[in-house]
């Protein structure tokens, strides 16, 4: 089935080095996929992702929907008889997919992630109202969850004012240093 696809021989080693997980020892028992709560919605099951990483089929892995649908619930990692921390592998695949410019098969997920990270960089704590607003605008789902707003406001479950914390400039400096170290 894979004879006409291009293999990237170093891909397995790179994923293993970055995740700290030995993907090569996966023996395809399928336990991760059997317990995966989101497996029904995935294009590749978790064990198939592991197999494609072993085979170096980088394009297939980095453009699949599975890496974006994985909810990081850790059921797979908890049950893996080879003790592979599969979520750490998924994290590496998500980051590589974004960094190398693969179009996300589930476009809303990276928009969600980036809206969240942008919000916390700016405010230090999550400013929920602004975060949801940013996500809705960038994703194009403009009115998502608007029906929840009246009840949340009347029950004082939605703060309209941004969080205020002392030392935000030091926090922003730390985040900047994190980005510089990550680039190295």
């Amino acid at each position: 089935m894979v004879h006409n696809k291009i293999s990237s021989p170093s891909f397995l080693e790179e994923v293993e080095a970055e995740s700290g997980e030995k993907v090569r020892i996966c023996y395809q028992c399928g336990k991760c996929s059997a317990g995966c709560p989101v497996g029904y919605a995935m294009d590749l099951l978790p064990n198939q992702v592991m197999r494609l990483v072993q085979l170096g089929l980088k394009d297939e892995v980095l453009s699949c929907a599975t890496i974006w649908l994985c909810a990081s619930c850790e059921t797979c990692a908890t049950r893996c008889p080879r003790e592979i921390e599969i979520v750490k592998v998924m994290d590496v695949l998500r980051r590589r997919s974004s960094a190398e410019g693969y179009p996300s098969a589930v476009r809303e997920v990276p928009i969600f992630v980036n809206s969240f990270i942008g919000n916390l960089k700016r405010f230090g704590r999550l400013y929920e109202a602004a975060f949801v607003g940013t996500y809705n605008i960038l994703s194009g789902h403009l009115t998502k969850d608007f029906d929840k707003v009246p009840a949340m406001l009347s029950k004082h479950k939605l703060s309209l004012l941004p969080p205020r914390i002392k030392g935000i400039s030091r926090i922003r400096e730390i985040i900047k240093r994190v980005e510089e170290i990550e680039k190295k």
Binding site: G20, P37, V38, Y40, A41, L69, A71, S72, C73, E74, T75, A77, T78, E85, V87, D91, R94, R95, S98, V106, E108, V109, I111, F112, V113, N114, F116, I117, L120, G124, R125, L126, E128, A129, V132, Y135, S139, K144, K148, A151, M152, K155, H156, K157, L158, S159, P163, I165, K166, G167, I171, I174, I175, R177, V178, E179, I181, E182
Partner: protein
């Protein structure tokens, strides 16, 4: 007993009732919670998905702040914050990661500040003194499905919380409070978590399975220990009902609210009016005027 309290972002807004009820039961149990001054977001799931070093540095920053509070450790209410703080402590055993975090923070954090979820703190107190002595309200008519979700129990080598497949800590608490524990299948299944934003259909399916199984197993209420689980199970319950084509109408309480009710605190003191699915019918059955 004094803890550095890390409330986390949700307890500041969408889960304000979790904060109110946590502080109420802490006071009833003589737990002193000192909020970590100027704590920041733990980074939650989006940080580890996108930036590994950020996902470790944000919790480490908070744990360094907690050291200055000078206590027995950090008390956390949110399962996701709990998981990220423990993940950071775990990762600090790796000298390379420790070094990178130190470079970012400008100081060394060695990963040794103890992190406990409020459920663990309550359970430890329960091992020393009989919590039954504090129970003032008879809950014996109420059937409770304890829902643990993912991030308290998994991955077990990081959280070291309880049995990852069949945890008992909340089950035992419900028994001590005098209510009935419902055995059901979905206590550690995922609610869909943060997919509530980008893939809400998945959350409706997963959270729907949990609520339906709890209901069919006879539960009057579900109790939770995580703001995101609560949001998916309570705030989205009407959407889930439409998705499933059935009425669920099952109140979802924080475990702290059930404790407070058992201890005789008023619904107002526990923020019980803040849920979308009203618990009034259950409150009436235990003799509380609503």
């Amino acid at each position: 007993m004094k803890y550095a309290f890390y409330p986390g972002c949700s307890l500041e807004s969408s889960a304000s009732e979790y904060r109110i009820s946590t502080e109420a039961i802490a006071s009833a149990l003589d737990i002193e919670l000192v909020e970590i001054p100027n704590w920041i977001c733990c980074g939650s799931t989006p940080a580890h998905m996108s930036h590994e070093l950020l996902s470790l540095t944000l919790p480490a920053y908070n744990l360094v702040l907690a050291m200055n509070v000078g206590t027995e450790g950090v008390a956390v209410s949110c399962a996701s914050c709990y998981n990220r703080l423990k993940q950071a402590n775990h990762a600090m055993q790796d000298p390379i990661k420790r070094g990178k975090v130190a470079e970012a923070l400008g100081e060394i954090y060695d990963g040794t500040v103890p992190v406990k979820h409020m459920l663990e703190i309550v359970s430890e107190i329960g091992a020393k003194r009989n919590l039954k002595d504090l129970v003032r309200v008879d809950l014996s008519d109420i059937k409770v499905a304890p829902y643990y979700g993912c991030l308290l129990v998994r991955p077990p080598d990081v959280t070291n919380f309880d049995d990852p497949e069949d945890p008992q800590i909340m089950d035992r608490l419900v028994e001590v409070l005098g209510a009935q524990v419902v055995k059901y299948n979905f206590k550690v299944e995922c609610c869909g978590a943060a997919l509530a934003f980008p893939q809400v259909e998945i959350v409706k399916k997963l959270s729907g399975q949990i609520l339906l199984d709890a209901k069919e197993s006879g539960a009057d209420i579900v109790i939770v220990a995580c703001p995101l689980c609560h949001s998916n199970l309570d705030l989205r319950q009407r959407d889930i009902e439409k998705y499933l084509g059935i009425d669920l109408e099952i109140p979802v309480l924080y475990f702290t609210q059930l404790m407070g009710l058992a201890f005789g605190l008023s619904p107002r003191e526990l923020g019980l009016e803040k849920h979308l699915i009203s618990p009034d019918s259950v409150l009436k059955r235990i003799g509380i005027k609503v």
